[in-house]
């Protein structure tokens, strides 16, 4: 499996605060990687360096061999990285269908965009609400709309920031199933706090702590690791 995204010596300093310190990271094609860690561990900072929202103080990020750190968000998106943010970032004043059309039109023209949007509406079971304003949908529904927007751009790698935040148990289960299905063709990096959800989607886990990577490995091993438990419970880690 070839490396899809890699980071070398990535650091982020905010004034005197080292939010992220010398992080080396790599995700392969088709992989499912979860990023976990206590609050303030540097997950969000790392995530934002990948999406282009932050320019790292030091180090480099490479996507398919190309240096992407410091690139503008829309340039990174065009390379094939899809981004789903923590708070659903969608078009509230447009209908679900109109939302999807915008995303679809990046890859398709005119009628083809309509068809792609229709397909995704069916795929994510959004047809019943297709003509409703996104602004009035429930939180979970908006997360789904955002997922649809991400998928329609046909990315090679998807970055998900807490995709199940605010979701009901049912919605979380559906999301887990969806992620498993997407993972058949697309690599994913998921930042999450919900442990049962992480266990359900399995894959590999990277644990952040205090701006550095503590542990990396298969989900089963990492979640049994005593150091990880200590870090979450607040005890000093090695």
């Amino acid at each position: 499996m070839s490396v899809l995204l890699s980071a070398h010596g990535l650091s982020m300093h905010f004034g005197g605060v080292r939010a992220m310190n010398n992080v080396d990271f790599a995700v392969s094609e088709g992989e499912l990687r979860c990023l976990i860690g206590p609050n303030g561990a540097g997950k969000s900072t790392f995530f934002k360096c990948l999406t282009g929202e932050l320019k790292p103080t030091a180090g480099a990020v490479r996507f398919r061999g190309q240096k992407i750190d410091g690139m503008l968000p829309h340039e990174i998106a065009r390379l094939g990285i899809g981004i789903k943010t923590q708070v659903p970032s969608v078009f509230d004043g447009l209908t679900v269908r109109e939302n999807l059309w915008i995303a679809a039109s990046r890859r398709h023209r005119g009628r083809a965009a309509n068809r792609a949007a229709d397909r995704e509406l069916a795929h994510l079971d959004l047809e019943p609400i297709a003509d409703r304003m996104v602004g009035i949908l429930s939180h979970g529904q908006r997360q789904w709309v955002e997922l649809a927007l991400v998928l329609l751009a046909e990315p090679l790698l998807i970055l998900l920031d807490e995709p199940t935040a605010g979701m009901t148990e049912d919605e979380t289960q559906r999301t887990a199933a969806l992620i498993a299905e997407i993972n058949k063709t697309v690599a994913l990096i998921v930042v999450e706090h919900d442990m049962p959800f992480i266990r359900r989607i399995a894959g590999n886990i990277t644990v952040f702590n205090r701006g550095e990577i503590l542990v990396e490995g298969h989900a089963e091993d990492v979640l049994k690791d005593q150091r990880v438990r200590d870090v979450y419970l607040g005890k000093r880690a090695a």
Partner: protein, 352 residues
């Protein structure tokens, strides 16, 4: 799209009716009105084009330009000075579109590529118009001229040549022909913008208004789209400026004034932000009202306009057209009303 049996009624008819109505008005009015009234209608049509220029960038692009008069005035002055120098109107007409577009592009580049947020855009454009006003206003002396044309300062620039058929200075357009040109251009701009908004470009511009960050995550360059929209708005305002100058054979620095910019905003606001018909109706109705009000001595025009603006902001922030049509839509049980003014024009979850 849906396989609705009412496709013809839903989709095609609404497209045809406005064209028919517009055409009927354009060709019918000269038959019904006397020349003087026709001249007034020409003015309203010109103001409607100006209103559309702002209605497009504000209502659909979320860019509240408080200095649209800068491009309006630049179009007028560009035409006037070029026409006096060249002696025929084809190139000046083109300049009246190109120069404001260039200014909008340059200023827009500074603003949008500098990530200047929505409200600050308003203030910066306001200052641009103010500066232009101050500069042009102080050019009264004979030393201020471009070629054969004295800029004229606060005296204004009179005796501006009218439009003629392309490259044929002998074939001057008479007032009726100017009416047809202005009305025709209004229809062209109206339907042109309608079409533009249905293209991918137009829809992305609207999406940027809603959520700039998400648009970028999808892969579109938001800054470029805003710049393009702003430039189009500038060109359209310049077009209106040129026509206005031709209509009165005269231009003066007042065209750059705050009052002028405020009027355009009021037209769009009263008519309906986020629609195309709203700005047109607002411009026509309020221009007519201004003429009527200007003739009475009881209240100062500024006072009335100011009061109207405050009242509308407090009670009818999205304008009359949306308010009225919403009543109709709700009865037809369509989707719920759209979000209020400040929601739709400040991008949620990203820099505005």
């Amino acid at each position: 799209m849906t396989n609705s049996p009412f496709r013809f009624r839903d989709r095609i008819v609404p497209q045809i009716i406005p064209v028919v109505v517009g055409g009927a008005l354009l060709f019918g009015l000269p038959q019904l009105l006397d020349l003087f009234t026709l001249l007034q209608v020409t003015l309203y049509a010109i103001m409607a084009i100006l209103a559309l220029s702002l209605g497009f960038i504000w209502g659909y692009g979320g860019i509240l330009c408080l200095g649209q008069s800068a491009f309006f005035g630049l179009g007028a002055y560009a035409y006037a000075i070029a026409a006096i120098n060249i002696g025929e109107s084809t190139i000046p007409f083109a300049l009246a579109l190109l120069l404001p577009a260039a200014l909008a592009a340059a200023f827009g580049y500074f603003m949008f590529y500098g990530r200047i947020s929505g409200v600050y855009v308003g203030v910066m454009t306001l200052t641009l118009a103010l500066i232009l006003f101050n500069v042009v206003n102080s050019t009264a002396g004979p030393e201020y001229h471009i070629g054969k044309a004295p800029i004229g300062g606060y005296n204004g620039l009179p005796n501006v040549p009218g439009l003629n058929l392309p490259f044929d200075p002998q074939a001057q357009l008479d007032p009726v022909a100017t009416y047809y040109l202005s009305g025709g251009l209004l229809l062209a701009v109206f339907f042109g913008l309608k079409w533009l908004l249905s293209t991918r470009f137009g829809r992305v511009v609207v999406a940027i208004r809603e959520n700039e960050r998400r648009v970028e995550f999808i892969g579109f360059d938001a800054r470029l789209h805003k710049l393009a929209a702003f430039t189009i708005g500038g060109a359209l305002a310049g077009l209106a400026g040129c026509l206005f100058c031709v209509w009165g054979n005269y231009t003066s620095p007042v065209i750059f004034s705050m009052i002028q910019s405020a009027q355009v905003i009021i037209w769009v606001m009263v008519g309906g932000v986020g629609t195309l018909l709203g700005p047109v109706l607002g411009a026509v109705a309020l221009s007519w009202l201004t003429a009527e009000v200007g003739m009475q001595q009881l209240f100062d025009a500024n006072l009335l306009f100011g009061a109207v603006l405050v009242v509308f902001v407090l009670f009818v922030p999205r304008g009359l057209l949306p308010m009225l049509t919403e009543r109709v839509w709700i009865r037809l049980a369509r989707s719920p009303p759209r979000a209020p003014l400040s929601h739709s024009v400040t991008a949620s979850g990203g820099s505005a």
